[in-house]
Symmetry: none
Subunit: 197 residues, 4 copies
């Protein structure tokens, strides 16, 4: 499952697995990502350190998994579809901007990005488990817009998503500018103009 290592039949103790992921999540919010140690996770989870090392490659992998576990149920998500792609995208982008203003999201998301940048394997998992499903939902909405003739029929939807979101993420991560609803709107408008049929 997810970030597992070598040993493992079904011998794995589910109770311990859950306790570890819970402990990791709690600790990240309590002391901050950088100060979470394997030892603290083990202690809080009431688990031997070996049990962590047996099933995860690294501290980053545990913490990553603890985030994964959170958004497990977010499978069948779908974007609003009012027929007006511009309005719908603005709604979604403004929501994202609002999310980024929540200080409770700050630490975990920055932590996640640090980890992803330096660990290709976690990056792959991130794409597969977290970004993938969300992007798929977004692309579904864009495809619907294509069918409605609001987007070029040959538009590269991955590229479209990048144009929409990458500037937003970068600005937030680098703190290189304010994240306002107007900014969200501007990104939507520019992207739609770029991909107009």
């Amino acid at each position: 499952m997810s970030t597992a290592k070598q040993p493992d039949p079904a011998r794995r103790n589910e109770r311990s697995r859950q306790a570890i992921l819970d402990a990791a999540r709690e600790l990240v919010t309590e002391v901050g990502y950088a100060k979470v140690t394997i030892e603290a996770i083990a202690a809080r989870a009431g688990v031997g350190k070996q049990t962590i090392y047996r099933w995860w490659r690294s501290r980053g992998a545990v913490i990553f998994d603890s985030f994964l576990a959170l958004s497990e149920g977010a499978e069948g998500l779908a974007l609003p579809d009012t027929g007006d792609i511009e309005a719908d995208l603005k709604t979604v982008m403004r929501a994202t901007v609002a999310e980024f203003a929540d200080p409770g999201f700050e630490a975990p998301i920055r932590a996640l990005n640090s980890e992803i940048i330096n660990d290709p394997e976690l990056a792959a998992q991130y794409r597969e488990k977290l970004a993938g499903p969300v992007d798929e939902a977004k692309k579904a909405r864009l495809r619907s817009a294509q069918r409605a003739g609001q987007l070029a029929a040959d538009a590269d939807l991955d590229l479209a998503l990048e144009l929409l979101y990458a500037p937003l993420y970068q600005r937030w991560l680098h703190r290189s500018g304010p994240l306002t609803p107007e900014y969200a709107d501007a990104l939507v408008e520019l992207t739609l103009r770029a991909f107009r049929p």
Copy 2:
């Protein structure tokens, strides 16, 4: 001076400062950002640990400074201006893509981004010392294009730069797709279409 601390006099030993920055840069490329330690830097630089703690706030600050020092001379840089903004941008973007393929750039750039994400102070320095000048040069070229009527007169040039570069950086950092010359071209074309007068 860059990331300096309190003690300040001109008593500072320039020889040691250089040795530390050199050691830091070498170590990042040799063992990877995450495994560079203050102790290793001090040992390699032939310097006491205290000398590092005296002048820098943190490991990140040293490493960051070691990159800063590299691109110190890149002040008066200018982008090519053939009169054709699309061609010029494609040239520049393709060069960036090529740079990112160089494995020697990999470690430092990822290190830099890790540091920036989690340390607002370093992020500010990054914008001021590294990104700032480069972005200014790029905006100068875009302004020239505006004057030539190739871009909307009211275009937000910061936004334009984000549209051009953020997707590229994100794709590279997250390893979420291939970085090809065609990809560079596509970004240029889309951005220009979005900002067409």
Copy 3:
């Protein structure tokens, strides 16, 4: 038998018992007494750890038993009896000295002594199973000498054995001096003089 615990039936797997004792003996000579672990014994014997814990009290008990098993057949041993007690004892003592020079004996004998010093129960077993029979044989020879008028009739034979052997063992265990044939002879001569009729 010997150092057994509670569960007891004849259900015990003889094959495993032998494999464990063999593995223990091999490991002591290979890696040294102090570094032999239950886990290593189990692994080498192809046996579950529980099977060891089921039948032995401690690591020491296993190792001790593995030595016991070795000298099981040494029951009906007898010392040479040429009629000349001095010559016979010198023969035996010189043989002991020679034995101690064999590096293959080193590890097990030191291990045995370590165990005996700190574990009264094993010490009792040692006296009963290992030292006892051998000492009995030696005392038989001394008794024969008493009958021949070569030793005082009221000599305490246990004390005589201690005078003969304790210096030898101590010198070897503490490495406090060379073990030569002459040394063996000297011990015999002194002891006989001390117990002369």
Copy 4:
């Protein structure tokens, strides 16, 4: 000093050294030799583990040193000399027997012997620092007896000491018999008879 390792000028912190040796001694008497851990010593001494590992090879070496430190002042010791070697030796041997009955001595001495048996380097230190001086004092008394014609002039005094003490030590370590004043007397009488002029 004594069991030191590699680094060391006079940079060594005497305060820490003392605290470590004190802690080790205390712990041995409190929890028993086998259960004393480096970690516990460091904690009790208020010292980093590294500070122990820097100056000692092993747990055994620390504990050994902590014993050494105890009997540091026992340099100029001398045995009683009433002119009667037999009486004097019996006094001393009976005192030794009495010492061995003290349960407070039990644990440390057995520990010491375990360590010595398996670690040649500690054995050498034991001979040099602990046994050596004491043996020298005993040999001085024997030499005085030689001068008085109570012992053979050519007697090997090391051998004489072994004859006196090795049986006693072995009996105590192996618990192979009672340690009584009469036993002490018997050893003295036998040894003197063996070395009579």
